[in-house]
């Protein structure tokens, strides 16, 4: 068990990287606490698998250090680090039985047969694999196979962290939540550090205590699912998290309000002050608001911004309303049972939920 | 560059592989007198006469043309009948499928020596004797089973959901097969084509038995010089060197399919 420190990491797949564009990982400097459940979330190609492989030791970073507790493991091969990894598709030793698969990492480390047997049984019980212990691993279903891959990591009593690389990709949808719940259970029981790579925000949000969002080779935010939702520190997080994502409008400042086209959106005085300062420094400003906080009122009210309803999509428990304000479009999420104005309306931006981003970064 | 144990093994093996070939190339640039007279590691009197002889004598170069003709014919026939059959074996269960598959394989196992005489009689009776198509058809005996076998392996690796989706989308079977499926197995087709080409190109017994003049293959032309008075070793070596070239071109085209790998069958 260990706390994992990534100290000023960067990685390029090219031998002589010229500019920042040659780096798959630009600069990572962060700490993963012992026993935490982390999700590493980001679109394909953002560098999350690269980061995972650096943590597991399959890849040596071009620069920076990886520390497990106080030990520098940057140059240690995977088998010398105390980690386990579960891959996108089940990786099993086809010719072995489930029991042999589970014992394999212990046998390689010279653990005594009796200890191995006890440990394998313990893990098989935790993973509900006891019934199939003596079956050939190759004949089992995909979810059972993924459990075996996980089990090969769990049997080692010295494991510091288990890394998951999109482990539910090949699992049937109705089994996904079962397996995810199993993971939570395992996490509570074995108190391991879990790092879970995914591009699916629902998976990340339901699995992890802390979600790490990556974008273009950088970590843009680490936080609880709620944090990411309410206070996205980067426009990318706002846009990537939530369905639909955050509304983002390019704005300029005019006194205490933000201007988009001809619409004036009032801000809190404190935020307006910071936004004016950022604009004076030459930053590009964007206003962000979550669809669920965007209010829609009848055209008659004397606050808000003039808007026109374009489209209403029913999603069961809510409706997604597409609204145009001048030449920009925003989305609002209206709960079931709430009336929606028919055509002309006023869009209301509650100041406490309205965020301003300067060059993509949240103003705080 | 660091040289490790694996590279040494590989280099030793390649040395073993290339020495006899080097000896052949070495001979092809020598006169027959030099070959038989002295032991020389490199040609002392370097000559291109052997190659000139092959390219100017029609009985020699026609051998190459004949061989290439029936080998290509055989490759095309083998692939075009094996593709639908391999698809059937990889996708369907039907009456007698396993027996049919094994029966096909048994043909790969019948020694050509067994069939020489009956083939000779048979092709004379049907009037195909000494034609390219006769050799191409005879070579189907061992190439078609192999082609079905390899292609079936490749096709089993392609999920059937693809077929199902296409049929739901309203594709007819031929349209699905030609526009979707064949592009998916093109690696398999390339590899199969290489094997068909290779086995047909190197076979001598059947090809020689079924031809006399018009379709006589290069390999048979070469046996002729052996029986002629005094062996023309130089000419033979040059002809031998030239036989490696067509196949080398074929493998060059399919090398990437090989390098990408294939498992053949449900692993």
């Amino acid at each position: 068990m260990a706390r994992i420190v990534l100290d000023d990491l960067a990685h390029s797949y090219r031998p002589h990287p010229a500019g920042p564009d040659d780096y798959a990982l630009k600069r990572i400097d962060t700490v993963w606490e012992d026993g935490g459940a982390y999700a590493l979330l980001g679109p394909s190609g953002c560098g999350k698998t690269t980061l995972l492989n650096i943590i597991s030791g399959l890849l040596i970073p071009s620069q920076g250090r990886v520390l497990y507790d106080e030990t520098d493991v940057t140059r240690l091969p995977p088998e010398k680090r105390n980690i386990a990894q579960v891959f996108q598709f089940p990786v099993l030793y086809d010719t072995m039985t489930v029991r042999e698969n589970l014992s394999f990492p212990l046998r390689n480390r010279g653990v005594s047969p009796s200890d191995t047997a006890t440990r394998v049984m313990e893990v098989a019980q935790a993973l509900d694999l006891v019934a199939v212990l003596d079956a050939k691993a190759s004949g089992l279903s995909a979810d059972a196979k993924q459990k075996i891959s996980l089990g090969r990591g769990l049997v080692r009593s010295d494991v510091a962290a288990i890394l998951f690389d999109e482990p539910l990709t090949v699992i049937d949808p109705h089994l996904k939540w079962q397996l995810r719940r199993k993971l939570k259970e395992i996490h509570d029981r074995f108190k391991l550090t879990l790092i879970y790579v995914t591009h699916d925000q629902v998976e990340a949000m339901t699995f992890a205590d802390q979600v790490v969002v990556m974008y273009d080779g950088e970590i843009v935010q680490i936080g609880t699912p709620q944090d990411l939702f309410e206070n996205p520190e980067h426009t990318f997080v706002g846009y990537f998290i939530g369905s639909p994502g955050m509304n983002l409008l390019p704005v300029t400042m005019d006194g205490e309000a933000a201007l988009t086209g001809s619409s004036r959106i009032p801000l809190t005085p404190a935020l307006a002050g910071k936004a004016r300062a950022a604009a004076a420094a030459g930053a590009k400003l964007e206003l962000g608001i979550r669809p669920m906080y965007l209010g829609l009122e009848d055209a008659g009210v004397d606050y808000g911004v003039a808007a026109r309803i374009n489209l209403v999509e029913d999603q069961g428990d809510c409706r997604i309303v597409t609204v145009s304000m001048g030449d920009v479009t925003v989305k609002a999420r209206v709960p079931e049972g709430r009336a929606i104005p028919s055509q002309e309306a006023r869009a209301v931006f509650p100041p406490e939920w309205t965020r301003i981003f300067a060059d993509g970064r949240l103003l705080k | 560059m660091k040289v490790n144990g694996r590279q040494i093994v590989l280099l030793l093996y390649l040395g073993f592989l290339l020495l006899p070939i080097y000896w052949l190339v070495n001979m092809s640039f020598q006169t027959t007198e030099e070959i038989l007279g002295t032991f020389s590691l490199v040609p002392e009197k370097f000559t291109l006469a052997n190659y000139r002889m092959i390219f100017t004598d029609s009985s020699w170069y026609m051998g190459y043309i004949n061989s290439i003709k029936y080998v290509l014919l055989n490759t095309v026939i083998s692939l075009s009948v094996a593709l639908p059959a391999a698809y059937a074996f990889s996708r369907f269960r039907f009456l007698g499928d396993k027996h049919m598959f094994f029966w096909l394989l048994t043909n790969r196992m019948s020694p050509p020596a067994v069939f020489l005489l009956p083939f000779f009689n048979f092709y004379q009776t049907v009037g195909l004797f000494d034609t390219h198509i006769a050799v191409a058809l005879a070579h189907c005996l061992f190439n078609v089973p192999l082609a079905v076998w390899i292609l079936e392996g490749f096709m089993s690796g392609i999920p059937r959901e693809i077929d199902e989706t296409a049929f739901i989308d309203g594709y007819s079977f031929p349209r699905f097969f030609f526009t979707i499926f064949i592009p998916l197995v093109k690696a398999g087709i390339g590899v199969t084509a290489f094997f068909c080409f290779m086995f047909s190109w190197v076979e001598l017994l059947l090809a020689r038995t079924l031809t006399t003049v018009n379709a006589k293959p290069i390999a048979a032309t070469m046996t002729r010089t052996i029986s002629a008075a005094g062996m023309d070793w130089g000419g033979l070596a040059a002809a031998g060197v030239l036989t490696m070239i067509p196949g080398a071109i074929v493998i060059w085209f399919v090398r990437n399919y090989m390098a990408k790998g294939f498992a053949l069958g449900r692993v």
Partner: protein, 291 residues
Amino acid sequence: MEKWDDNKAWFLVLPVFLVVAFSAIIPLMTVVNYSVQDIMAPGQGIFVGPEWYREVLHDPRLHEAFLRQLIYSFTVLAIEIPLGIAVALTLPSKGWKVSACLVLLALPLLIPWNVVGTIWVVFSRPDIGLAGVTINELLGIPYNYTADPMDSWLTVVIMDIWHWTPLVVLLCYAGLQAIPEAYYQAAKIDGASRWAVFRFIQLPKMRGVLMIAVLLRFMDSFMIYTEPFVLTGGGPGNSTTFLSQFLTKMAIGQFDLGPAAAFSLIYFLVILLLSYIFYTVITNLGKGVAK
């Protein structure tokens, strides 16, 4: 993966059936026909029943040739398969070197079989061949493949290894390249030794290609004819007379069509039986109880 049940699939198999039947069934009928007749002249034969079979089966020369053939086939298989796997493991996995190695490896496979024989005739000659001269002069071992039966046998075996190991290498290499990187990563993390990686990942994943390699090599080595015919002509004595040569001598040399045909069928059945055994053994090797 469950297959669809549909007898209409026969229409897809029909072309293969017709093409192969054209080349196989009619000539095979002729062979069966010959094997039960005594043929005096073309078109004139007397039905003799199983007599030729009895005669052939009791021929001690056939027994010798059969034994020689078995030893030969198992020797080349026992060398070529492990050697082919070993070489495949040493090949680079990417870059221009792959292309170079693949083309070089394919060269021996692309030489017509009689030329293969011819190459080794010259290559091994004690007076002008590179191998012959090297062994005799440099190593000081007396070697003459045309006179000494052991030298002759060894030369044929080495020629076969030279000729056919590349086929095993190419197939195994393709099988190895198809293994996803994640397997090697998982093995590293599990602390598997190099041997364990080979035994539990590479070998099982090569099962499909190895099956083809073993069966092809078995069938072809069991039917070998042209190369030893050119190299040694079956001699000295009968030391390199394998089944096919024995058969051809009988059919063409002595024109004993009846016995030759009976022998052909027995020969064919033996290959069939042995191939079937290989096929079953490899298919069941390491296959799961639950399929």
